[in-house]
């Protein structure tokens, strides 16, 4: 409680609890290929916040309306080891919302060329499973998760197939990924916008708009969270996100 009050007082004075600028992220660390058993993986740290995304590739059946396209499934686990506030059990509404927002950022950006993942039209396609595990919740899990997801996809290889069987550990080619969508959650406290909130700052936010931006500055998803937003703030928040997304995208190489 005391940290949150302090964070709020500081923000009102134009400062942040860890001395950052309002539009500054904590130190971003991206490490790819960290899980040997996964076809693609990445660890992302935003300061002390840490998440791991793993990609598994498997055979699946296409949706009837897209018989020649691979499929995408995104899941998020708020593992109880990451925070005293997470419980054991099936995903709660926060985990489901996070997974669905990350899913929309990836899916709507069309960053994966799903039409290149068809094995047999209408019958058999590659299914891309992205599973995101929270390791340490020190704030801003959503931006960390979305970054881990795209970093893991960029690291993903399609396994070799022989006699209709997947040969694990041997690969055919890279997963075709053509865009790098970046999710930026723009937060508001009082009259100030800020990015990458810490766990203390998260508890005092008034509103938050999560914005997924593609390489060409197109917006591929929006999700308002927390309390009500001022109508006139929406475009300002989008401008902040577009600007920041360019800087973070560079870190993906």
């Amino acid at each position: 409680m005391i940290e949150e009050k302090y964070a709020l007082e500081l923000i009102e004075k134009g400062k942040r609890i860890d001395g950052r600028r309002f539009d500054e992220f904590r130190k971003i660390e991206i490490e790819q290929g960290i899980i040997k058993k996964a076809e693609g993986s990445a660890r992302v740290k935003l300061g002390e916040t840490e998440v791991i995304a793993g990609v598994k590739m498997d055979f699946g059946t296409p949706f009837p309306d897209t018989p020649e396209e691979g499929t995408l499934v995104v899941n998020a686990e708020f593992t109880p080891l990451a925070s005293p506030e997470f419980d054991v059990g099936p995903p709660g509404e926060d985990a489901i919302e996070l997974a669905r927002v990350v899913d929309r950022g990836i899916r709507e950006s069309k960053c994966i060329e799903l039409n290149k993942l068809c094995i047999q039209p209408g019958e058999k396609v590659w299914c891309v499973f992205i599973d995101i595990h929270m390791i340490n919740d020190k704030g801003n899990l959503l931006d960390a998760s979305a970054l881990a997801a795209i970093a893991a996809l960029l690291n993903t290889k399609i396994p070799k197939v022989e006699n209709e069987k997947i040969i694990r550990g041997e690969f055919e080619k890279n997963l075709p990924v053509v865009f790098k969508p970046i999710n930026i959650s723009v937060c508001k406290v009082g009259d100030k916008f800020l990015l990458d909130p810490t766990i203390e700052e998260e508890k005092i936010l008034d509103s938050k708009l999560s914005i997924s931006v593609r390489d060409d500055d197109k917006i591929c998803s929006l999700q308002k969270q927390l309390k009500e937003l001022d109508f006139d703030d929406i475009l300002k928040m989008i401008d902040i996100a577009v600007k920041k997304s360019k800087e973070i995208r560079k870190m993906l190489g």
């Binding site: 489901i96 899916r107 197109k218 917006i219 591929c220 998803s221 308002k224 309390k227 009500e228 475009l235």
Partner: protein
Amino acid sequence: MEKKELLKEGRRIDGRAPEELRTIEMKVDVVSRADGSALVKFGNTVAIASVYGPRALFPRHLQELETCVLRCRYNMAPFSVDERKSPGPDRRSIELTKVIRLALEPVIFVEDFPRATIDIFVEILQADGSTRVTAINAASLALASAGVPMKDLVAACSVGKIDGTLILDLNGDEDKNSEADLAFAMMPTKDKVTLLQMDGNLTREEIAKLLELARNTCKKIYEMQRSVLKEKYRRVE
């Protein structure tokens, strides 16, 4: 599979102009057992909402000392869609339940009812696109009809883009084949946005136009909600 043609000579598949709403119907007090209720139709999309409360919240550890707890459920009836939806919550309805609760919470004077709860249940009886915004319009009317003290009503609509054209109030076919859809709810007299979700591909300028269209439409929907409520209280007199 061939892509469905959604726009022909400036008209949509159901004959509407791009910025035209479907026929909207609103009714309150449709569930007499509830403290407040409403039915809202946007074309073939039908949502029914009931409100119970403010009422006691048990078990007690769920109570908040200084506010009431708003609980919400968005549910689609198995028969509301083409292929039967298996009953019970799926990931989509769990997310929608959360965003709908957040869309309604800002208008309620929650501090007036410490330790209590207000329950809002919304059933989608027929789904033909824009179900979440129809649900919000119904829930907002049900809350007002229950006499829950509110700062404003919440009015909601969807906007989007099909075949390069910006449109209002997506129906089911448009929703499935759209280039973008954006769900929007606001407190019309306060200019505060309580729901904003978008997926698709839009430029900043397109978003600016869609937001303006959504805001103007919500003002119209708000007037409809008001007149339904006024009618109710005139009946009581």
